[in-house]
C-alpha cells in the first residue's frame, strides 16, 4: 500500500514536471527569441579591446544574471541518461536558456545606459544545490554574463 502511494506521488511529480516544466520552458524560449530580436542592435563582443577609431562617452560594467532550476521530469530523465550515457538534452536546453537569458539581461542594462556595444563579455556559471524538500537536492544553476557597455559620444 505504502509502495503504491509512493509510486503515485512519483508519477504525479513526473507528470507535473513534464507538463508544466515543458510548457514553461517553451514559453521562456519564445520570450528569449522575441527579446533577442528586439535587442539585436546592441552588439556584444568577447574581444578585449574596443575599436580605437571610435570615441566613447562612457564605459560601464553591466551584469545580467539568472538562476534556473530543473523540474522533476528533467531530473529523472537525466538520471536515466546517466545510466546509459550520451547527450543529456534536458540539461542542454536548461543551460542554453540560462545563458541566453543572462546575456539578454546584460544587454537590457546596456540599452538603458544608451550603449550600443558591450565588450569583453565573460560568462560565469555555478551550480547551486537547492533542497527540494526531498532527500537529494535538486539541481539549479546561476548564470552570469558581464561586460563593459560602451556609450558612443
Amino acid at each position: 500500500m505504502e509502495l503504491l502511494v509512493q509510486l503515485g506521488i512519483f508519477a504525479v511529480l513526473l507528470l507535473v514536471g513534464l507538463v508544466f516544466g515543458r510548457a514553461s520552458e517553451k514559453r521562456h524560449f519564445r520570450e528569449i527569441r522575441r527579446r533577442e530580436a528586439e535587442l539585436r542592435d546592441v552588439l556584444v563582443f568577447n574581444e578585449r579591446r574596443p575599436p580605437h577609431d571610435r570615441e566613447f562617452r562612457q564605459a560601464t560594467l553591466v551584469v545580467g544574471s539568472v538562476v534556473i532550476a530543473e523540474d522533476y521530469f528533467k531530473r529523472i530523465a537525466a538520471g536515466l541518461r546517466g545510466f546509459f550515457g550520451g547527450r543529456v538534452t534536458v540539461y542542454e536546453s536548461l543551460m542554453d536558456r540560462g545563458r541566453r537569458e543572462a546575456v539578454l539581461r546584460m544587454k537590457e542594462e546596456a540599452r538603458r545606459l544608451g550603449a550600443t556595444m558591450v565588450f569583453n563579455v565573460r560568462f560565469e556559471t555555478s551550480s547551486l544545490a537547492v533542497d527540494g524538500g526531498a532527500q537529494t537536492p535538486m539541481f539549479s544553476a546561476e548564470f552570469i554574463a558581464y561586460g563593459t557597455a560602451l556609450v558612443p559620444r
Binding site: 511529480l13 507535473v16 514536471g17 508544466f20 516544466g21 514553461s24 520552458e25 521562456h28 578585449r48 579591446r49 574596443p50 570615441e55 566613447f56 564605459a59 560601464t60 560594467l61 551584469v63 544574471s65 539568472v66 538562476v67 534556473i68 532550476a69 530543473e70 523540474d71 522533476y72 528533467k74 536548461l94 537569458e101 565588450f119 569583453n120 565573460r122 560565469e124 555555478s126 551550480s127 547551486l128 544545490a129 537547492v130 533542497d131 527540494g132 524538500g133 537536492p137 535538486m138 539549479s140 546561476e142 552570469i144 558581464y146 561586460g147 563593459t148 560602451l150
Partner: protein, 104 residues
Amino acid sequence: MELTNLEAVPGRTIVRHLGLVQGSTVRSKHVGRDFLAGLKNFVGGELRAYTELLNESRAEAIERMVAQASAAGANAVVNVRFATSNIAAGAAEVMAYGTAVVLE
C-alpha cells in the same frame, strides 16, 4: 568611481596602478525563500528569489570592492571579474575583484 572589465578605460589614461582590490559577501536564503524555491523546483524554471538574492549579493561585493579602491585613492577599477561559489548548503559566496587605478 568607474568600473569596467576592460584593461583600460577607453579614451582615458591610467596614471597609477594601485594593485588588486576585492570585495565579497556570503549570503544564505531565508527559510521562506528556500521553501518557495523548493516548491518551484518541481516545476522548474527561474527561481526569482535566488536571482534577486545573488544580484543583491553582487551589488554588495562590488560596493566593498569600491570601498577598498577608494580607500587606496583610486578613481576607477579596471579588469573586474566575478566569481560565485557554493560554500555550504544554502549559502553562496559572491566575489568581485579587479585592479584599482588612478585615471588622469
